[in-house]
Symmetry: C2
């Protein structure tokens, strides 16, 4: 395997990890498979401190970014992939199994996109709110009797699959990005989608689109919807400009 | 994934694991990927006890076999695969990378063979003596800066690869067993090879084949040699019968 083979295009995000041993194990798996960019979202401070100060804690842990929200952590990413078992919930995004993930990521990375692979807390995994930041879910094909994996082991298995296939393109059958009509342009980063989502939500409210009791559900559906569209940056900016204009008008009339 | 998809044909062997957390993690990964047969060789008794009595310890750990030697643990196996990093040693057996392991195991299992996947202790991995029980080594393709994996994570990664590919034969390109001229007959189990090896060693001594100082080195080379041959059971029995006869003669003459 070539050295420094997985630079910035792919970052690993751990949302609120609890166990310092798991944080260390995730970092070790990253080092094993040549990934360097770790972001930790809203860690429990004492455990995060413990993980970073452990004997043998790597540069990778020392250099990890800390973010208060998942939306902030993935702000510059064009493809956000959530992990976890889908046994007890109905997925709201497209799902791929792990062996099929590399062929989905490679075109995104090749056209200059940035990918985040997001892991939830040990106990309950990613929340519905977390999942609404994801474009795609990946499922590790586990046995129905014991579907739930240990965090450090799940990270290791995912990164093994990506390292083995991303560095050996000949092994995989690259397929075109199924949801994009702009193969040459990377998708809009998550921050643009969040901005757009926020403005559209205000438009909904200003237009009294639905009762206030529906606001949370609408926001959730909207975030997922925007991610399904695979907007380019340029698309996102134009749509944003349009909705800002609409909002401005609505607010003026309601004065 | 179908239930009970990996019965007896494949067993996992942990040689002298030290950390109860790692034993538990290995067992959890086995359950995650539908493997049920665990053997532990010469465990450190207090730690083994602790792992088995941990909260949530699985039936799999309760039902694990314990063996005093690796040779005993793999006695009924026709293909013994050793794991570990090869950074600091020159392999004496054929080596495959993990992505290529399924295509090597499937023909063995299809013709009725039994496979063992062997993991060494956390600190130093499998010894040279352990490796002499192996027909084949598997290497997980890790980054040169941090090649050595945590035991529980290494087990998870190997079993993920096997489960994903063994249950999806269409994914892989099955290749014929490169070292066998008997595609229809399974190889001799390890116990037969051990028996044969022991008799041949006695013949060497009885025949004063080489100075006693060479005995350990000869034994080591002999074990590796017999495993390279891929003898069928019938082959092994016939060769054994021959060497028993030779030994009987040598011992009679030396009286």
């Amino acid at each position: 395997m070539p050295e420094d083979s997985h630079p910035a295009p792919l970052q690993i995000v751990l949302v609120s990890p609890r166990n310092p041993l798991n944080i260390g194990a995730a970092a070790r798996a990253m080092a094993n498979f040549g990934f360097t960019h770790l972001t930790v979202v809203a860690p429990y401070a004492p455990h995060w401190q413990e993980a970073r100060s452990a004997i043998g804690a790597s540069d990778l842990l020392q250099n990890a970014k800390v973010s208060t929200t998942l939306a902030g952590a993935v702000a510059d990413c064009t493809l956000v992939v959530g992990t976890g078992t889908l046994t007890h919930r109905k997925p709201e995004q497209p799902v791929v199994t792990l062996p099929d993930l590399p062929s989905r990521l490679i075109p995104e990375i090749e056209r200059g996109g940035r990918v985040a692979l997001v892991f939830g807390p040990e106990k309950h995994g990613l929340t519905r709110e977390d999942l609404s930041c994801c474009h795609l879910l990946v499922e590790i094909p586990t046995h129905p009797h014991q579907p739930s994996m240990n965090l450090g082991q799940a990270v290791a298995v995912c990164l093994y699959e990506l390292a083995a296939r991303l560095t050996a393109p000949a092994r995989i059958n690259i397929q075109p990005h199924p949801s994009s009509s702009h193969p040459a342009a990377p998708d809009a980063p998550s921050a643009d989608l969040e901005l757009l989502s926020g403005v559209i939500e205000k438009v909904m409210l200003a237009a009294a689109y639905s009762p206030p009791s529906m606001q949370d559900a609408n926001r959730h559906d909207l975030r997922l919807f925007l991610r399904r569209l695979a907007l380019t940056r340029r698309d996102a900016r134009r749509v944003l400009g349009f909705f800002r204009r609409v909002l401005h008008r609505l607010e003026r009339w309601s004065e």
